[in-house]
């Protein structure tokens, strides 16, 4: 037991002779234009990585400002209007410009073709177009921000957004509309690639679970996002021309907007979390040296989450005056989503059982994910039950709930994935001890930030206010202190990952001794990924196959 801790499976080539491969996707071509006009899925992934990191830190800055304002009960830092803009911009940027594209557009883009044994995604130009749409959407949002922001909240709820606010609603909505098409095209590309581009022998049940979870998330992107698009178009039309579709004085129904909005935006949380679950499956398997327990169940649970995800949207509207009978049905369906989610958590736990576990940084983040996502998921069941929801909705409880899922879950998974595949993407290792420190810092900071918010919400502190009764101050100070620690935890990777680009140890093909096809090729990969089309002749996560393969293999790099 105790000997397992501290042991690692890291197998780096002899650093005195190790060299990066002469020819790879990074040095294949030079110049800015070769990046901006590329069709290579790996380069597009890097473009996405840079842009979402940019938006993550903008969104994070707003989070910092929110927590700073909430340090004291009095409204002393900013006016209430400005505060409204803070949390609106925080939500809009983090959800539409960071979380939705986070894992799929970076890691998914980079890895899915390689994991399937393909040379590229099915439509490289559409892939590039999707990045440009994302950037245009981001620019619209930044424009709205610079012009004075928007204060609808990220939900654009009518009639607030259509009749009462005089901020830059249409500019922001345009940005999200455009960025939505980036997401649609990414999903479309993934689905076609997974159906049509698998290499010989790569059957559906030999695909890595990372690919399965992206398949499920892509279905949601393709089916859900257009509904958000039309909802935003209708808001823009209502604001501009007063057409009446959401205006009760003309017979329109504001609730219709919420139905359309949440029909996308609930599945959207699964768009955000499912790719993260794919990362966790890969990481847990690699660092326990075991095939994922119940592969088929985990694969199908992704699809089940996607399917159920489309039939629970009304739980965002329980207190908005929907019919009691439909609320009952939606409450039951909401509980059902817990089943496939629990299947995943239990299967990961059983994967760990009797595995040869090592504690590299990605694994630490993955452990963080499992614990925090479980708490986030279970509190979701609280909110799905009708009676509890009336008490807890629109309080800090709900804020804590979705931050546990989105930040504790998805962001942990994103960082796990970035660390896990960093050697593959760049050819170099990140500094292990520093990154472990960052992982632990993030975990501590996260819990300190959001655990008090559960209590605050249960005690009745409403969300979206910039002042609160003085008795809530202790918990709010804890939360703000935690946010500071969390901020440090997120700054660290930015610094040492940047450092590692030049000074990190050369990683070699397969530093983790993982089984995926992506680890059997050079790091960083060739532009065409494979020298010749691979043939998949074993199951996914087959460590015996890997052991046989590497037994007589001399690892040379350079």
């Amino acid at each position: 037991m105790s000997t397992a801790i501290g042991n690692t499976i890291v197998s780096l080539p002899d650093q005195s002779t190790a060299r990066l491969p002469k020819r790879n996707y990074i040095n294949n071509e030079h110049g800015l234009l070769s990046w901006l006009l590329t069709g290579d899925h790996k380069r597009i992934a890097i473009l996405y990585l840079i842009s979402i990191t940019f938006f993550f830190f903008i969104g994070g800055a707003f989070a910092g400002l929110i927590r700073l304002e909430l340090l004291t009960p009095q409204p002393d830092l900013v006016s209430s209007d400005t505060y409204n803009k803070f949390f609106s911009m925080h939500g809009i940027i983090m959800i539409f410009l960071f979380l939705v594209p986070s894992v799929p557009a970076t890691l998914g883009n980079f890895l899915i073709p390689i994991m399937l044994g393909a040379k590229d995604l099915a439509f490289p130009k559409i892939n590039l177009l999707s990045w440009y749409l994302y950037v245009i959407g981001g620019l619209f949002t930044l424009t709205a921000l610079v012009l004075g922001g928007v204060d609808t909240g990220w939900t654009f709820t009518t009639p607030l957004s259509t009749h009462y606010l005089n901020t830059h609603v249409i500019t922001t909505a345009m940005g999200i509309f455009v960025a939505g098409f980036a997401s649609i095209f990414t999903g479309l590309n993934f689905i076609v690639t997974i159906h049509r581009m698998r290499c010989p022998g790569m059957t559906w049940f030999r695909m890595p679970l990372f690919v399965w979870s992206h398949y499920a998330a892509s279905l949601l992107m393709v089916l859900g996002t257009p509904v958000l698009a039309i909802a935003l178009v209708l808001v823009a039309l209502e604001r501009t021309f007063g057409i009446g579709v959401f205006d009760p004085t003309k017979g329109g129904d504001p609730l219709l907007f919420q139905h359309l909005f949440w029909f996308y935006s609930h599945p959207a949380v699964y768009i955000m979390i499912l790719p993260g679950m794919g990362v966790i499956s890969e990481v847990i398997s690699t660092f326990s040296r075991k095939r994922v327990f119940g592969y088929t169940a985990v694969a199908f649970s992704s699809v089940a989450i996607a399917l159920f995800g489309f039939f629970v949207w009304e739980h965002h509207m329980f207190i908005m005056g929907v019919s009691n009978y439909s609320a009952l049905v939606f409450s039951l369906l909401t509980m059902l989503v817990a089943v496939p989610s629990a299947i995943k958590i239990f299967n990961w736990a059983f994967t760990l059982q009797k595995g040869s576990i090592t504690f590299e940084t990605p694994m630490l983040y993955a452990f963080g994910f499992m614990g925090l996502f479980t708490i986030g998921g279970l509190t979701g069941v609280f909110l799905g039950s009708l009676g509890m929801d009336i008490h807890l909705t629109e309080t800090y409880f709900i804020v804590a709930h979705f931050h546990f899922v989105m930040v504790g879950g998805m962001l942990m998974a994103f960082l796990a994935g970035i660390h896990f595949w960093w050697p593959k993407m760049t050819g170099r290792m990140y500094p292990e001890s520093l990154s472990k420190l960052a992982a632990v810092t993030t975990f501590i900071g996260f819990n300190l930030t959001f655990m008090p918010q559960f209590i605050l919400g249960y005690l009745g502190m409403p969300r979206r206010y910039h002042s609160y009764p003085p008795e809530f101050q202790v918990l709010n100070v804890l939360s703000t202190a935690g946010a500071t620690v969390l901020g440090v935890g997120y700054m660290l990777p930015l610094l040492y990952l940047g450092w590692s680009l030049k000074y990190g140890a050369i990683a070699g093909n397969n530093p983790w001794q993982a089984t995926g096809l992506e680890w059997q090729i050079q790091s960083p990969p060739l532009t065409e990924n494979f020298v010749e089309t691979p043939i998949m002749d074993h199951e996914a996560y087959d460590y015996e196959w890997l052991a046989n393969k590497t037994k007589h293999e001399v690892t040379t790099v350079g």
Partner: protein
């Protein structure tokens, strides 16, 4: 859509890739098409991927229009009388003629796909031009109908007038007058009418733009040497736009003919 499938101009230098060996196609006799993209193993795979991608894109379009159909369903149930009276203001003959024109346009498109498959360049170009022509006729009729709504103050917004529905006799209509409250709801109908037919027309305008480009390329002979994927995929798109109209026509124009009335 088509752009990504058809163009050969990759930014990465194609000479860097190992030369494509047509292992599968050696048994067949045709040469590798110049439009074959390096990252597909076979042309068959490329063609299937393109067509599958197009179907998925149409699925997203269905969801996009679905939002408006859902709004229609809701408001038609709530404000049925207003919807009937407002729908009577639409011209059934014009709508019916337009339906026929659009189906003809779709038929020409289908013939165009066939012409590309049997490699008849002249016929393909003629069919694409005819498809475009009927598309323009449809849009012309639609514009005429919009203009009539403008004259009658039936465009939702500040200038919208319910006078015709509150006091139909003054306009020489034989309808029963609506209460002022219900008459307000006709605006919802006209909003849906403009949003749905407008979004449909927008798709046609985009389609006509792509048609012009396809016609030029067809004239150059791009699609009559065995490479028909762009024509096929555009055909799918055009038929989808037709089908949307097949739903819009009865839902908007023929409410009065509904048996439950």
């Amino acid at each position: 859509m088509d752009n990504a499938i058809t163009s050969t101009g990759m930014t990465t230098d194609p000479t860097l890739y190992p030369p494509y060996t047509p292992a599968v196609h050696e048994e067949h006799e045709h040469a590798v098409l110049p439009q074959h993209r390096h990252h597909f193993e076979t042309e068959e795979q490329q063609r299937e991927a393109g067509s599958f991608g197009m179907w998925l894109f149409l699925l997203t379009e269905i969801m996009f229009f679905g939002g408006m159909f859902f709004a229609y369903l809701l408001y038609r149930n709530w404000y049925y009388e207003a919807f009937v009276v407002a729908s009577n203001q639409l011209s059934v003959p014009l709508g019916a003629v337009n339906t026929a024109i659009l189906i003809t346009s779709g038929f020409c498109m289908a013939l165009g796909v066939w012409a590309a498959e049997v490699r008849q360049k002249g016929l393909l170009v003629v069919m694409l031009l005819l498809t475009t022509f009927f598309g323009f006729i449809f849009l012309g009729v639609k514009a005429d109908e919009y203009h009539e709504k403008y004259e009658k103050h039936h465009i939702p917004g500040a200038s919208f007038s319910t006078a015709m529905f509150v006091n139909p006799a003054a306009y020489g209509l034989k309808e029963d007058p609506l209460s002022p409250d219900m008459a307000q709801k006709t605006q919802i109908f006209f909003f849906l009418y403009f949003a749905m037919t407008g979004m449909h027309a927008l798709h046609m305008i985009i389609g006509i733009g792509i048609l012009a480009w396809l016609t030029l390329r067809a004239h150059r002979g791009d699609f009559t040497s065995g490479y028909v994927a762009p024509i096929e995929n555009f055909g799918l798109y055009w038929h989808f736009v037709d089908i949307v109209w097949i739903f819009l026509f009865p839902l908007l124009y023929l409410i009065n003919r509904h048996p439950l009335k």
